[in-house]
């Protein structure tokens, strides 16, 4: 046998051996990968099964929250009227304009601030708070809800409610059965007789001041 032929045969054998060694090692690694993927697959299945109901639950939660939001926005629109967007803007900055869009209204949104004097005045009247002090030379403040005037005009002091040591005047009967009317219940509109003194000093008793309890 000639030398080149022997070398060629040797090289071919080496090539075959290299192919066998590397391919067997590669096959072994692929088997390991297959086992790893087989172990991970059920865990991924668990992930899928556990996250499957999340969308439905979150959609239901969102639907419930949207219902509650719409309810509150409708209430704000009904009770606060044009101030509703401002109230929403004060509580949730940036939401006032969205509120207006949702209710189909338009206009500028003016934040009310931390205090809502008009609402405070209404609550004050319902709870039998002190009468507001009208400005000198001006008529008594009209019903804020009906007039749309500046809230600060109808509020005593700085527009804050004081629940301490405030005698509760007895309001009149509501105009409509089952419906509370603030008209006439405001101390500055009807000089109603003073209500009972608070049972405990420093605490406001609304007993007798609520028309539906009389």
């Amino acid at each position: 046998m000639e030398l080149p032929v022997a070398i060629i045969i040797l090289l071919i054998v080496l090539i075959v051996l290299a192919l066998a060694v590397f391919l067997l090692a590669t096959i072994a690694e692929l088997v390991k990968i297959n086992r790893g993927l087989a172990a991970a697959l059920p865990l991924v299945g668990e992930l899928v099964s556990k996250t499957a109901p999340v969308n439905g639950v979150l959609d239901a939660i969102n639907g419930t929250l949207v219902t509650g939001r719409d309810l509150l926005e409708g209430l704000a629109l009904k009770k606060a009227g044009p101030d509703g967007a401002g109230l929403v803007e004060s509580c949730f900055p940036g939401e006032g304009a969205k509120f207006l869009r949702r209710v189909g209204a338009s206009g500028a949104v003016l934040p009310i601030g931390e205090d809502y004097p008009r609402g405070a005045a209404i609550l004050n009247s319902l709870l039998g708070g002190t009468a507001p002090v009208p400005a000198a030379g001006s008529a008594p403040a009209p019903a804020p809800a009906a007039s749309g005037a500046s809230p600060s005009e109808a509020v005593p002091g700085d527009g804050r409610i004081s629940l301490r040591d405030t005698p509760a005047p007895a309001p009149q009967e509501p105009a409509e059965p089952g419906r509370l009317s603030a008209m006439g219940a405001r101390p500055w509109e009807s000089p109603a007789p003073a209500a009972e003194a608070p049972a405990e000093p420093g605490r406001l008793t609304a007993k007798g001041a609520r028309p539906w309890e009389r």
Binding site: L23, T51, I61, L71, G81
Partner: protein, 84 residues
């Protein structure tokens, strides 16, 4: 004779090239194995973390109750407060 020596050279070059290529394939396959193992560990941890997803149902019930209470409260306010 010359042709035989040329074949020897070609086979040597082919052997070296083959060894390099197969080594690369083997290295890539070996690098996948720890990644797959890590994926399995992360999937196990994620699956364990998602055990708390069932609490969303409780949250949903609480939110429903809160909104129902809110509706009742709003109804009371609707009666108690005058309209704008």
């Amino acid at each position: 004779m010359t042709v035989l020596w040329i074949m020897v050279v070609v086979l040597v070059v082919a052997l070296l090239l083959l060894a390099k290529l197969l080594s690369g394939v083997l290295g890539a396959a070996r690098s996948i194995t720890p990644t797959v193992t890590a994926i399995g560990g992360v999937a196990a941890a994620g699956s364990k973390d998602l055990d708390a997803v069932i609490a969303l149902v409780t949250t949903q019930n609480y939110i429903s109750q809160v909104v129902a209470g809110l509706a009742n409260y709003g109804g009371s306010l609707d009666v108690a407060l005058p309209d704008a």
